[in-house]
Amino acid sequence: MAKHKSSNNPFCKKQLGKPVSEIFQYGFFSFATYCIMLCALVIFGKIIIEGAPVIWRKGADFITQKPQTLAVVEAVEAEGIEIPTDNFDNILSSNDDDALPLKNVEEFKKSFAYKRFLLMPGSIIGEGYLKSIEQQNKGFFLIYTERDTKSSAGFSVASDKEITLMTDQFEKLKSLIPKLIPAGVTTREVTLSDYKVTIAKGDYALSKTAHDALAPTDLIFQMRQGFPDDEPDKICQSIIPKTQTITVDANTYFAAFDEDENGTLPIQSQEDLPKTTIFHQFTLAKGVYYAPLSAIAILANQGITTQHNLVRGSIVVNLAEPAELTLPVSNYEQLIAANPGIKLEDVTDFEQKVDYTRFTLAKDAEIRIDTEDLDAITRANEESGKFKTNSENTHSYSGGGILGPIVGTGLLVIICMVVALFTGIGAATFLNEYARKGAFTKSLRLAMLNLAGVPSIVFGLFGLGLFVMLAPSLTSTPHIESKLSLPLAPVASTPQLRVVEEKKIHMETRELSTSTVVAAARSNSQEYFHDGWTYLSFEGWGTCMLAGGFTLAIMVLPVIITSCEESLRAVPMGFREASLALGASKWQSIRTAVLPYALPGILTASVLGITRVAGETAPIMFTAAAAERSDLPWEAVQSTGFAAFVEFLQQSVQALPYHIYTVAGRIPQSEYTEPMQYGSVLVFMLIVMALAGISIWLRIHFRNKIKW
């Protein structure tokens, strides 16, 4: 179509189409490309511009700290505010450099009266007091094994207190500690009903109050999850395995079955059993008293507090040798007054000088402050009354600190990659080396590739169904909702019988031979749960990092298998032939002449897999992630040996992507939390980029190193 000019040049440009369309094409494609680049630039730029100052200001603390929640305090202008220097430095680092109008900042030493003493082994001490000793003596941390549940403990009554008790409790208190009851006890009669209540089988939401009221009753129920310490008002799901009828007193009735309250149980049918209750009333004078823990427990309902743990008892100090400790005089006096079982020696007075900072707040200012520091500054200025605040607002995570999420993500990735590499390499080896090349393997491979296209939230739900709720686990006390529990083997230690008597379960430790337990279990399977057995119970692992890791592994498997297969295919056939020709068996040749040379490729691919896994939110949402957690996973482990490992794996963890989601979408937004979002995103992005960089480096490294 093009007319050739009579030219000698055989390579002259031919006129193909009109130049206008060419320019248009060029324009469109370049426009599209630049648009994408622009978007990327804007997003990355925003993250870097907002995130970098946060990281710059907080430094390494941002990464090495646990998530920190700051209070924003509007402090009133004042002169001569005093605060320990440590706390002062913390406050400075929490606030922007020039944000605080400070004047006349001066350091000085403040002396406090202290007692120094030796804490003797065998002392019995309340848990709360032990904690305060540990706080005051850095480096002292008591690991205790024994508790004392019988001995007396102290409690103090700050001012005269009126106590009202029902007859049974009053009599119990009287029998336990007659001295406590003063002469003037008044009685009054009230008509209150007991209630006979029938509750239908099912799943119910239960509040902590209702749970505590129901726990001592005959009702058989089980919580799906525990009540978190940091959210006491949270309502959790409980299971009632069968329809039951129980008789409860009025207190329990109103706590657990009140229709107007959230988190109480609905009643199928009820019957009132009216009866007269006698109340005893007396006044407890101000002072320090000693009483058995069970007696204090009765009084605890009346608003009397103690620093002893009423359920688990006081701690028996099991030190090998006496520990030299110090306490402020006021704390020391409290300790002595409330712990009759404590043994101290060599008590001496001394003055301790503490670094203090005094400063003037030039005008009203907004201070971001950690709760501990707020406590310290409030305490330090309690007497002078100089530190006054107009308002205090806490903003979750406004202090940054993403160690928990980083650690959690790391653990999830490790579990995921261990599982994914084992199964992935296995499957790829099977497909590439063992399986016959037929329609079946082809469809198997196709199915696996299609898995890569499944939305990640589907994997999350899959993980929830399989690993959180169905996967088998070994336990001696199967969950009520276990899908199937198979007794495997008697536990080696002393068997316990879990006896069901009149529908009530209680544990009974008896010296029983294993055969007795087995016989009891066989003959009376209706009446006995035999707890001397280990069960294989299909009850799932719960929301934990193990379930999350497995879910992520399933998600990343298609990628891993595909790249493993590619790596295996890249190993020259000659290696396999040479190895076989030297008399190696099939497995020997795969192990020594194929897998070692495929490993670099597998490694490179798995690092890429890590970047993908680390960034996933949806699969871990239901299976592993915790929105907030104040400690690191290993800090919460209490058991030892292999049990500790299992316990460690069965915890939910924070994870970086989920943390970002929490900070950005689930907590109340404020100007204080926003920079932390960007900081977290920036750190996350850097981590992912570093991983991708490692992957690229590995690829180049191995490409240069391995030639065949």
């Binding site: 040479a578 030297l582 190696a584 030639k707 065949w708």
Partner: protein, 301 residues
Amino acid sequence: MTQKKPQNIEPTASAIDQAVSQSPSSEHTEQAKAQLAQTRPTNHLNGLKTMVEIDDLSFSYDMGKTNTLQNITLDIPEKQVTAFIGPSGCGKSTLIRCLNRMNDLVETSRITSGQIRIMDQNIHSKSVSPIELRKQVGMVFQKYNPFPKSIYDNVAYGPRIQGIKKKSLLDAAVEKSLRGAALWDEVKDRLKDSALGLSGGQQQRLCIARTIAVRPKVILMDEPCSALDPIATAKVEELILELRQDFTIVIVTHSMQQASRISDQTAFFYLGELIEYNTTEHIFTNPSIKQTEDYISGRFG
């Protein structure tokens, strides 16, 4: 003449006729063929002890639809070098890979008739383990393929997978094999270096050393010099002549000069059939069949 892939060959004896009919003196060939048919083509081996006996072997790569090898009958004498020559696709490599059952790796391969006996044992019988067979019948491949490991590890590979772990035994085996492959003097100071750093000829000799470290009875060589330059080829050939004293060697080669230089017996294959098998001297000086003569004199192929 164009070369055809074995799959395209009609599985009939007419293949020879076809080829022969193109040559001018077909009468002479017919005669020789008739003569050949009367006798086992291995009668010339009078007195020599046979190591490998191939009886009427037919082999197929595609479940028996087409035969790549057709009715091969051949005896290979002990401690001699036997060369297989023929144009590409004539089945000589297939045959050599049958001898240590490397063709088992191809899932669709089948022996359609006949059998192979090595040391009087049918190697395809159920009681024969291919792993044990390959320890006795080693193989050196066309493209030298040392593992990307050290020289030492390459040679020690065979003994190691047989379970030898003792350092002194391994050391002795490595030295003996490397000496046997005439490589010891060149590499004794750098046994721990990567085998991939050696020259091509050295790598191929390393592969031979790796093979003899397992102490096989038979060594199969599949065009061992085709990727080597003339000097390296000369060294490998020298080595083969030395190895001949201890091992039975079967070598596939494209180079007629090489076959004439190093082999004692030569078999000429064409389109999956054994055309002529005789002493090397006889084949190269006085071939009985016209086709053989055409091939070795370079008139076709």
